[in-house]
């Protein structure tokens, strides 16, 4: 009896060792392929001008005259064209690779890491990017290529986000487009860009503003801090309590908020960092009330706001609430009357009071058509990823009929000037350089009887 059990155990162990060796070899082989060369940083010479195709090697030429078909953007000078001697060519020294992972004759595959499970729900961002791609694909795609998004669930876990990066790399994505992984973006942006993967869009964590091959579309969260501190003065806030989500990118954001408040002569009462899973905010409400806080400046996720407002409401304590990312329709159902009069800011046009605006209509219409159940979940972050998808497609159109490679994509992105996002943002421009920070503007919004209403023009910082 024992010997037969031992035999079974030995067989299982042997099988597991063999499987480990096989799978390990496959992983090493996949990650070691030259399709994802390490890139140290783009040269400033990688530009959109015909003469300035700075990554000038034997594999890169500049061709003029091929304008972006159907693009809503314009490039300064001639459109950059990159001709590669082959999809698997070697990397260009100091610039993006001329390799073309994720590009076949018919499809272009990009990746995205999203918090699809856990305390956040970024499935709406994933589906927003897909809705944009579906719209483009329904019109024939881009230069004969259909667009495809591979997604991976990071579950608000940096370790899983890293696994996702490795998985998407092994699946040969061309770029990351419109991702939203709250705890994954800060560590994974340097990793992915270090692997030569262009990153377009994202939540706006500081790391996305520190790489030559990251092209954010929304404001840096650090800029949010500066703007909120500045606008607090306009709101006659004198003694706020600060409630901030505990996340791996939050330190510089908190610092910028505190610096800005101090600069504007506002002395805050206390700072409370909270986990996104914090169940009850009664302690925060009681604390702020006892401290005599006249307001609460908050940087939380939409459903943490619901619990914060619930605690305020229960304690019959109604400080002025000024928070980022408050305008999510599905969460607003939970806020109830408690959110009336709350203040917020947005780097993108507020949808709730601009339903008939062309850009908003296109954005809502596409999500309504392809993912109707997600319409109520749309928010400022999904709108940002919509713009990221738009920027990506504009860059592809700029490449024209030339081969789509990471390098040509980077060159095209750097050539985008005054991208017309149909009014969803201030016009977005990029240029070759070590970093990109194209959107530093906000509009102030407030909640009027349940509807978020814009009451300012763009304020840029």
């Amino acid at each position: 009896m024992n010997s037969s059990r031992e035999r079974i155990a030995v067989i299982f162990m042997t099988a597991s060792v063999v499987m480990t060796l096989v799978l390990g070899g496959a992983v090493v082989h996949a990650l070691g392929r030259p399709a994802t060369p390490v890139v140290l940083g783009a040269r400033s010479g990688v530009s959109g001008s015909a003469s300035g195709a700075g990554a000038s090697t034997a594999t890169t030429v500049a061709a003029s005259g091929a304008s972006a078909t159907g693009s809503s953007s314009s490039a300064t000078g001639s459109s950059p064209q990159t001709a590669s001697s082959g999809a698997r060519s070697t990397s260009v020294s100091g610039g993006l690779s001329t390799a073309a992972p994720g590009v076949t004759a018919n499809t272009i595959t990009v990746g995205g890491i999203f918090d699809e499970t856990g305390p956040f729900d970024a499935t709406v961002e994933r589906d927003t990017v897909r809705a944009y791609f579906d719209t483009v694909n329904a019109q024939g795609g881009v230069n004969g290529h259909k667009l495809q998004l591979l997604d991976c669930d990071s579950g608000y876990d940096p370790a899983r986000a890293h696994q996702c990066s490795q998985q998407l790399l092994s699946e040969n994505i061309l770029a990351m487009v419109g991702w939203l992984s709250v705890s994954g973006e800060q560590p994974e942006t340097p990793y992915l860009t270090g692997q030569g993967v262009p990153v377009i869009g994202g939540l706006g964590v500081p790391a996305e503003f520190a790489s030559p091959i990251s092209w954010p579309v929304t404001d840096n969260l650090v800029t949010y801090g500066t703007a909120m501190g500045d606008h607090a003065k306009d709101l006659n806030i004198h003694a706020p309590g600060l409630v901030i989500l505990n996340a791996n990118f939050i330190a510089p954001v908190q610092q910028s908020l505190e610096d800005s408040l101090q600069h504007n002569g506002i002395a805050w009462k206390s700072v409370d960092q909270v986990d996104p899973t914090k169940p009850d905010y009664t302690d925060i409400a009681v604390k702020l009330e006892s401290e005599g806080a006249d307001s609460c400046i908050a940087a939380l996720d939409p459903f943490s706001y619901a619990r914060l407002l619930e605690a305020f409401d229960r304690q019959n304590f109604h400080p002025q609430l000024f928070g980022l990312g408050l305008d999510k329709a599905s969460a607003n159902q939970q806020y109830g009357n408690a959110v009336y009069g709350a203040q917020s800011l947005t780097p993108l046009l507020e949808p709730q009071d601009h339903q008939s605006q062309a850009g908003i209509a296109a954005y809502y219409g596409a999500v309504q058509k392809y993912y109707p159940s997600q319409v109520a979940n749309l928010d400022v972050y999904s709108e940002g990823e919509w713009v990221a998808a738009e920027v990506f497609v504009d860059a592809l159109r700029l490449i024209g009929t030339a081969p789509v490679t990471r390098q040509s994509l980077g060159t095209a992105l750097n050539s985008l000037k005054n991208v017309d996002t149909q009014g969803l943002t201030q016009p977005i421009s990029y240029a070759p350089g070590n970093t990109h920070d194209p959107n530093r503007c906000f509009q102030w919004i407030h909640n009027v009887s349940g509807t978020w209403t814009t009451y300012s023009n763009w304020n840029c910082f």
């Binding site: 856990g118 986990d275 009850d280 302690d283 009681v286």
Partner: protein, 311 residues
């Protein structure tokens, strides 16, 4: 010396302000403790009768609460109907766990059974995620109004839902203790807990009694889940994790005493809440929980301490 004085002057108003929060934070902590106590009672009942530390208890609560969510939120039925559905579902899940996976392992070591409950935890968690989505974006079943009343001395508003959780936790603890002490089923449960073989000789159906304890414990999990979810994140993760805090409360009750488990829950709630008056860092509550678990294990379960029970 000047620097020390400056620091004291700087901290004095902060500390004074923090100490003044303690009365209100006591109430907040007791309400939180009621949540932990309620989650812990079923754990203790099942452990007392069957000797199995049920790691799936929180998952059973979570799954049953999702049943209530399906009935009351998605289908629009009244909240009490959702609660009944949740209790029924919890009982059935408890019965399934016991009959199909614990009973066949009757003569196996307790650790084997614990591992089986961890397996159930993962199965229920994954299943709920697949059916209802694995995010926190679910609207909980609201059985009791969130409105409340202001306590006169501490000037704190306590919600009727919070008060209900607290009272139900006490009632369940006292009720279960009374059931074990004064009813025939309770006597049978205690007999099985003491010595299953002897209980069998006395004509007690050990299987039925054990199944009844699992059903009752899981039904309590369902009640706890429905009442707790409006107070915490409602997803397939948070309620499952609440059971870790519940274990800490149950350990204080030495996994046997229901009244002491309630006291343990209250103590844990207070211990997690008080530091928030002085520290702004996230995670201070979790730190307290794990320190309490370690301290309880070290003190109550030290070598030579009275044995909890023969598993």
């Amino acid at each position: 010396m000047d620097h020390v004085l400056q620091l004291e002057l700087l901290l004095a108003p902060v500390l004074a302000s923090s100490w003044s929060l303690l009365p209100a934070f006591t109430v907040i902590g007791l309400v939180l403790g009621g949540v932990y106590a309620m989650a812990a009672i079923g754990v203790v009942l099942i452990f007392r009768v069957s000797g199995v530390l049920n790691f799936a208890h929180g998952a059973v609560a979570m799954f049953s609460t999702f049943i209530a969510y399906q009935v009351s939120v998605l289908w629009g039925a009244p909240g009490w109907l959702g609660l009944i559905a949740a209790v029924a579902a919890g009982s059935v899940i408890g019965l399934c766990i016991e009959a199909f996976t614990i009973r066949p392992l009757a003569n196996r070591p307790p650790l084997t059974k614990v591992v089986v409950t961890i397996g159930w935890l993962l199965v229920l968690q994954t299943l709920a995620g697949k059916i209802w989505g694995a995010t926190a974006y679910h609207r909980p079943v609201q059985l009791v109004s969130r409105n409340g009343f202001r306590l006169p001395i501490v000037h704190l508003v306590v919600g009727y839902d919070q008060l209900t959780t607290f009272i139900v936790a006490l009632a369940l603890a006292l009720g279960t203790a009374a059931l074990l002490r004064y009813t025939q089923l309770g006597t049978a449960m205690r007999a099985v807990a003491d010595n299953p073989a002897t209980a069998r000789l006395w004509g007690i159906s050990v299987n039925r009694v054990t199944a009844a304890s699992w059903m009752a414990g899981s039904a309590m999990a369902a009640i706890a889940g429905v009442l707790i979810t409006p107070l915490i994140n409602f997803d397939n993760y948070s309620l499952t994790i609440v059971v870790i805090d519940a274990f800490a409360a149950a350990l204080i009750g030495r996994l046997t005493s229901l009244p002491m488990t309630v006291v343990g829950g209250m103590f844990l709630g207070l211990a997690q809440t008080y530091p928030r008056a002085f520290f702004s860092s996230a995670g201070i509550g979790e730190l307290v929980t794990f320190l309490m678990v370690l301290a309880t294990l070290a003190v109550l379960f030290r070598p030579g301490a009275r044995k909890v029970r023969a598993a």
